[in-house]
């Protein structure tokens, strides 16, 4: 456990140093291109001091690390807002969207996977569900989001939908549900071929109980770990949806900062995004261990 925590902290430190190092690895002077491409009115020396470019690399890194521990990541070059509170607010709104979509997707995926994985279940439902999941995986979010927006604002104008949080959640959840249906169905039907599943049925358990306790439960540990490792791509999906629905989350902030060369904002976004991904993976591992005693005995 302590080892895990240490490796997590090391990874975060590596990401932090990498996010600071990139600006120095650029060919040429980043400040020249910044001043040439954008209309920043801040004097050059002040920006250099802000970014720590007036100090040697390790000194500026340790200075920034100390500031980070006090919740200070500098000021945005464009809006002069403090970066840390802005970023936490944006990340919170992205996480809200991500978790909303995740719960919706799992609420669709788990029951339908249970029904489809039943070896004696209906063949029609199985084929239908597999077809739908294949279709939903193949629809890019960049197309689905605008189309849903179009359908629910122009074709069926059921109220003000632009920037609507629930529609954004649904758009993000649909491909996720397809993907998770596939993963869960595969694992459950593997378990349902095991002897303990058949003996559970032979002891007279109902199919529903057998599927829940002898197929889903043993598979759930590894599913939780997969969910954790997929958390990064989940967050990535929410970035696209934010761009479509104009939701002020991390994705929107990050794209804007990138296009405006707002370096402090970009460094902070890299750091926040990476930490979220790393935490997702670790959380998945911890949950798997808590759920599945077989995993605990190994280490």
């Amino acid at each position: 456990m302590i080892q895990k925590l240490a490796s997590l902290l090391t990874s975060i430190l590596i990401v932090f140093i990498a996010s600071r190092a990139l600006i120095r690895a650029l060919p040429g002077d980043p400040l020249d291109s910044l001043l040439a491409e954008t209309a920043v009115s801040i004097p050059r020396e002040a920006i250099a001091q802000d970014l720590g470019l007036d100090l040697p690399f390790w000194k500026s890194c340790s200075r920034d690390l100390k500031r980070l521990l006090h919740g200070d990541l500098g000021y945005s070059l464009m809006t002069r807002e403090p970066v840390f509170p802005t970023m936490t607010r944006r990340l919170a709104s992205s996480l809200q969207l991500t978790f909303g979509a995740l719960f919706l997707a799992l609420a669709i995926a788990i029951p339908s996977a249970l029904v489809a994985a039943n070896p004696r279940g209906s063949r029609f439902f199985k084929i239908l569900a597999q077809g739908l999941s294949g279709l939903s995986i193949s629809i890019p979010l960049a197309w689905l989001g605008p189309i849903l927006l179009y359908v629910f604002t122009i074709v069926f104008p059921w109220g003000e939908m632009r920037g609507s949080f629930s529609l954004a959640c649904i758009a993000l959840a649909l491909p996720l549900a397809g993907n998770w249906f596939r993963v869960i169905e595969l694992r459950i039907s593997q378990e349902a071929r095991q002897d303990y599943y058949r003996s559970a049925l032979a002891r007279g358990l109902s199919v529903r109980r057998a599927l829940l306790k002898h197929a889903l439960a043993p598979a759930a540990g590894s599913l939780l770990a997969t969910l954790g490792s997929q958390f990064g791509s989940l967050l990535a999906g929410s970035f696209i949806i934010e761009w479509v629905f104009d939701l002020p989350g991390m994705g929107l902030t990050w794209v804007q900062a990138t296009l405006q060369r707002d370096y402090p904002m970009m460094e902070a976004a890299t750091l926040f995004g990476a930490i979220t991904c790393l935490l997702g993976v670790s959380l998945g591992d911890v949950l798997q261990r808590q759920w599945d005693p077989r995993q605990r005995e190994i280490s």
Binding site: G134, I139, A142, S233, W243, M266
Partner: protein, 262 residues
């Protein structure tokens, strides 16, 4: 029944891409004409309508699809080469370097390709190189882990032991004895890798981090479709439906080549 789907998928892929190639060599690049901007679909001049610059969408989308697929395939080839080289060499290294490699791999596995794309784009600026780096960094680690699991099993087999006993150096063990056995597993993964690469390219160009306007890919056309959704919904359909059909076909093909997914 499964065979029918696979045939349909192959039919779509071959017909769409051969028509696209034929259109390319026959008529060249689609012409700009402002008076036809946002033209509705009409036979025979504009079978799918026209975009904001009055270009014929059928020609434009087929050109963009060729560019996107070529780009996705080259990224897949690069990540395959990287993953194959790493995975075939890894089990023959010292256990200490294996541990280091393992932790590097774990580190990269935590991040999706879009995160790399944002980070690289922040410093290199938006462009093709940015998404190429992002797609490779996004795909290679997962593939490496998969292939490494297999090569670890292979390293315990007799023919590898025999080769090592005969004094074959690590490079020889890796590339002469391990690599050929990984190739079949890698080949099976190609269609799903192309699906992921196409999706990632589309989302990144959609966000404005990839292909510049004027050199259209599926992603940049999707972003145009979003901007003109209300005035010209036909752009969205003309761009989206071939893309979805292509991705769906590749998905069906990849399922057919992977027995564990039935």
């Amino acid at each position: 029944m499964k065979n029918v789907y696979r045939k349909l998928a192959q039919l779509w892929l071959t017909s769409w891409f051969s028509v696209a190639l034929a259109l390319q060599s026959w008529k060249g690049a689609p012409a700009f004409s402002i008076e036809n901007a946002l033209h509705k679909p009409s036979w025979p001049d504009f079978p799918m309508g026209a975009d904001t610059y009055g270009r014929d969408l059928f020609k434009l989308v087929s050109q963009a699809s060729l560019i996107s697929v070529a780009f996705a395939c080259s990224c897949v080839v690069i990540s395959l080469a990287l993953a194959l080289a790493t995975a075939s060499l890894a089990p023959h290294l010292s256990s200490r370097s294996q541990r280091v490699l393992q932790s590097v791999l774990h580190f990269f596995l935590a991040f999706p390709s879009i995160l790399f794309a944002f980070t690289v784009a922040g410093f290199l600026g938006p462009g093709k190189l940015t998404i190429a780096v992002a797609l490779t960094l996004g795909a290679a680690p997962g593939l490496t882990r998969l292939l490494w699991n297999r090569s670890r099993e292979l390293a315990q087999l007799e023919f590898i032991w025999a080769a090592r006993a005969l004094g074959t150096p690590a490079l020889g063990l890796a590339f002469r004895h391990t690599l050929p056995h990984l190739a079949s597993l890698a080949r099976v993964k190609i269609p799903s890798l192309v699906v992921h690469a196409l999706l990632a390219e589309a989302s990144l160009s959609f966000l404005g981090l990839g292909f510049p306007i004027g050199q259209e890919s599926w992603g940049s056309l999707l972003s145009q479709a979003k901007d003109y959704l209300i005035e010209a919904p036909h752009i969205s359909l003309a761009v989206g439906i071939p893309l979805i059909l292509t991705l769906l076909s590749l998905d069906v093909v990849s399922k057919a080549t992977r027995p564990e997914l039935r």
